[in-house]
Symmetry: C2
Subunit: 203 residues, 2 copies
């Protein structure tokens, strides 16, 4: 079990560094400091290694998200806390960074891995619907569209932060993202004209 963990960590380091294409089982064995035999006992192919890294990343992300949900913060704060939590994982966890890179590259190894995106889109849509039911999120927001947009936006924010600063500015960039999220979801934001109309009869 410890050997398997060391292999997955080694594979994550290699995939994060060079991507799927140029990575080899030899590089993973060297990085994980295991023999080719031990590596082969656990993983027969590079593809299985990549899938194990993606699965491990998804498990770690879900675990951190469970911590956020256990804080019962309310829908908007939960959405923003999930974004900050993922940013922190990306900065601190090489398996998460490798898993996200591999998911994006998955079509190049004959897989098209959709669930890490679609699962989070559904979670964000669900939180938006809950906020609308309790009146803290504007009913004018299309919850499905917002879930899709937020997950795609976050993906772009972390990737561009990686290209521009090797993710050193990711905390600030995600703070900017959550500020726009609050602006978009706030009921006061889009009810500007409504409030005006509602007031008019009383004038």
């Amino acid at each position: 079990m410890e050997t398997r963990k060391a292999i997955v960590r080694g594979a994550a380091a290699v995939f994060e560094d060079v991507g799927y294409g140029p990575a080899s089982l030899q590089m993973v064995a060297e990085t994980a400091e295991v023999t080719r035999g031990a590596l082969y006992f656990h993983f027969k192919t590079k593809e299985l290694l990549a899938l194990a890294v993606i699965e491990d990343q998804h498990a770690r992300t879900k675990e951190s998200a469970a911590d956020v949900f256990s804080r019962s913060l309310g829908p908007i704060e939960t959405i923003c806390a999930l974004c900050s939590c993922f940013a922190s994982l990306l900065q601190n966890d090489p398996v998460v960074r490798a898993g996200i890179r591999l998911t994006l590259e998955s079509s190049t190894f004959g897989q098209r891995i959709r669930s890490p995106y679609t699962d989070w889109m559904q979670t964000m849509e669900q939180l938006t619907l809950e906020g609308q039911a309790s009146g803290v999120i504007s009913s004018k927001v299309d919850a499905g569209a917002f879930g899709r947009y937020l997950v795609a936006s976050f993906t772009g924010v972390q990737m561009v932060s990686n290209v521009l600063t090797a993710r050193e500015d990711l905390t600030e960039r995600v703070e900017e993202l959550t500020a726009f999220v609050r602006l978009t979801l706030s009921p006061s934001a889009q009810h500007g004209f409504q409030t005006l109309d509602e007031l008019t009869p009383h004038v």
Copy 2:
């Protein structure tokens, strides 16, 4: 000149298909249907080929953007039209798709290409400032933050659309993005409470 163009188009097809790592000059020569000698006359290394594709993509994008600017649409409409125009380029132009993939992968070939992001961030910031000066964009929006966020969001929207649907749904996803852009920038959106306050004395 025609040979060089054919080589850049062939290189774009190869880079779009397999990414930078596994691409070879041999694959580019075969795809472009030129001899190794002709290829070598124009490009000595894979890195120079990748840089030529990125440069060509940036030129094509700027040219399409110039068309949008020539329509004098006003700041919010210009921002939204630029997003639609880039979406259409991504769906129709393999050189643009390859250039964007290479820019994201550029750190893996010892380059860190920032200007395609930072140039567009500045353009979006500038348009936001213009809209604020003329009163059509809320003065509450941080123009720099909005420029950074929009370019990163668009990057994520097109990448996730690629992973989930090979960019078949990109038009709809970019329409959702521009709807959120309008919501964020609209002066009525964030002046809801202000309008209320301003009205109170007259009640």
